[in-house]
Amino acid sequence: MASHVEPRRFYIMKQVLRDPAAEPAGGAKREVPAPARAGARKGPGSGAVDRTISDVPLKTVYGPNDIAELDLTRDLAWPGEFPYVRGIHANGYRDRLWTMRQFAGFGTAKQTNERYHFLLEQGQHGLSVAFDMPTLMGYDSDAPQARGEVGKCGVAIDSLADMEALFDGIDMGDITTSMTINGPAAIAVAQYVAAAEKKGISRHKLGGTIQADILKEYIAQKEWIFPPRPHMRVIVDMIDFCTREMPKWNTISISGYHIREAGSTAAQELAFTLADGFAYVEACVAAGMNVDDFAPRLSFFFNSHIDFFEEIAKFRAARRIYARHMRDKYGAKDPRSWKLRFHTQTAGCSATAQQPENNIVRVAFEAMAAVLGGTQSLHTNSMDEVLALPTEKSVEIALRTQQVLAYETNVTNVVDPLGGSYYVEALTDEMERQAEAYFSQIEEYGGVVEAIEAGFFQKEIAEASYRYQRSIESKDRVIVGVNAFVKEEESHDIDLLKITEETEREQARAVQAVRSRRDPNAVQSGLERLQRACRDPKDNLMPHLIDCVNAYCTEGEIVDAMVAVYGRYTERSIF
């Protein structure tokens, strides 16, 4: 059991001032010694303080030598200029703040709809839909696989009827919606389009994002349906459709969040996510699309973990790598295709069940890293998410954290305030170097899909997460309240939100009612046409999916029809 540890101050200012590299540069080239200061700090964690949370070795101080290779024009430039390491907008947050977007969804569509009305009234800008596990895996709420899971991790959406209830009383032409769903993403888009068009809102006016990043499902999150190759076809069809028919829709959100949550390092998150992004670009180009037609609407989704500067460096490196590859490797000509835009969420895996109020503080630091890294939108986690779904109170604190950051701290006034910092620039370079090394390894496998099939990513992540857990066990790394500063006999007096079994029964009854009142012939013929399209790679699946949805085919029925053609994926388990 962890013992109680007295709080200790961690100042090491004296040592820093004695370091020769900290003196004014004066143009003199001096090799900065790698400090070997194990033991300089006493107390918990003294063994690991010289590495980032992702194991990048750190010096005590950084100086001109550390950025000697950096070409100010080629590698840095100004915000809004290629390679965009300093940001994609010349004026940063002065012109436009990031979008405060809190992910929410639980229980039935009606319950989540009430939470959405609450969030919009609180000043939130956009909605973000969390779906429950059966929906994410393509099962209806009354399927045997759904038992115990309905409405637990998010909202249950079985058919168009649920999507209509979810957006009841909300002007879908006025808000933007982010939907976190991958395996059945194309079906969710079809449902969203159909729900809006039933209200008389054209698909051309719909703004938002769908995650639809199936590659990271095989790598980390494990919410797949079909095997990788046919799944890529479904995604490419969806991107193609949205590019042509939904001009305000961001077609895919390529996500590192889950890769990080699965235990990767920052560099792995960066490398694997960008590799996935490039794989989609290659797949769309191979399907005959012009890179500048679809690339401006690709976006990314990163994790913001607790190692403050490493995260900032990761965000900056992501923009530079992306810009270089898009312009130089994929031949994009439109500057909008070079700009990496991203959403950030604070790290769920950095939250602790012990002393959960401490998570408020962690979230604040992680949110600030995301903002200093130039995020376009942000979700701040609630303190109690490690215990259960967040309560309204804790969601409000999380949103207020962003508002304090945006309106009180003044960090929004100057673009890329850490640009030019010896440390941050050196760490940004290091992130880029590590990512490029991973790209070469992936290429040796023959590409992302091949590397997935070989279990490469899964093994890398399992190794990293085990190493990380070991460092906490050994107390090389301190987690406040977990392996240091522990309170014995801790009791929780925060309220937790519970989803009852009644939700499951209610949702199962609802989907059965939908099945009994629709036109069975339209269902049958819709699903048959969909299956024919699945067999014909030239026939885009999206119009067929929209037809099925409008006939009130359930998600489970649509998925089953497609599984009959494509099969279901099973993975080799590696630990």
Binding site: Q145, K222, A262
Partner: protein, 138 residues
Amino acid sequence: MAARPLRIVIAKAGLDGHDRGAKVIARALRDAGMEVIYTGLFQTPEQIVQTAIQEDADGIGLSILSGAHMTLFPLVVEQLAAQDAGDIVFFGGGTIPPEDAGALKSAGVRAIFTPGAPLQEIVDFVQRECGKRRELVG
């Protein structure tokens, strides 16, 4: 004569794909000298108990982070009883609120480990409890 190492099934049930914890525990138990069978994802309670019986396992560790713990843990307990395997040490972990953990322990789950539980504590528990089971069952 060296005893056969303890054999543990680490399982994921339902639709929950969060396998980071399960894999870390599997590694930790293996590093502590046990034989570990990881079931992979999306197993039913029936499959998990069958695997444990077929593998002659001393313990089953079930990881659930999807919120379905109050449904799936009791189903495994039920299956253990139904298949006359109540001697297998059944424990688990995940995002499980304290009062649910209490209820699950009353229902027959021997221990529930929540986020932040030290690996050593889990290893010690498994060695102690599964070791006792081994002495009884042989």
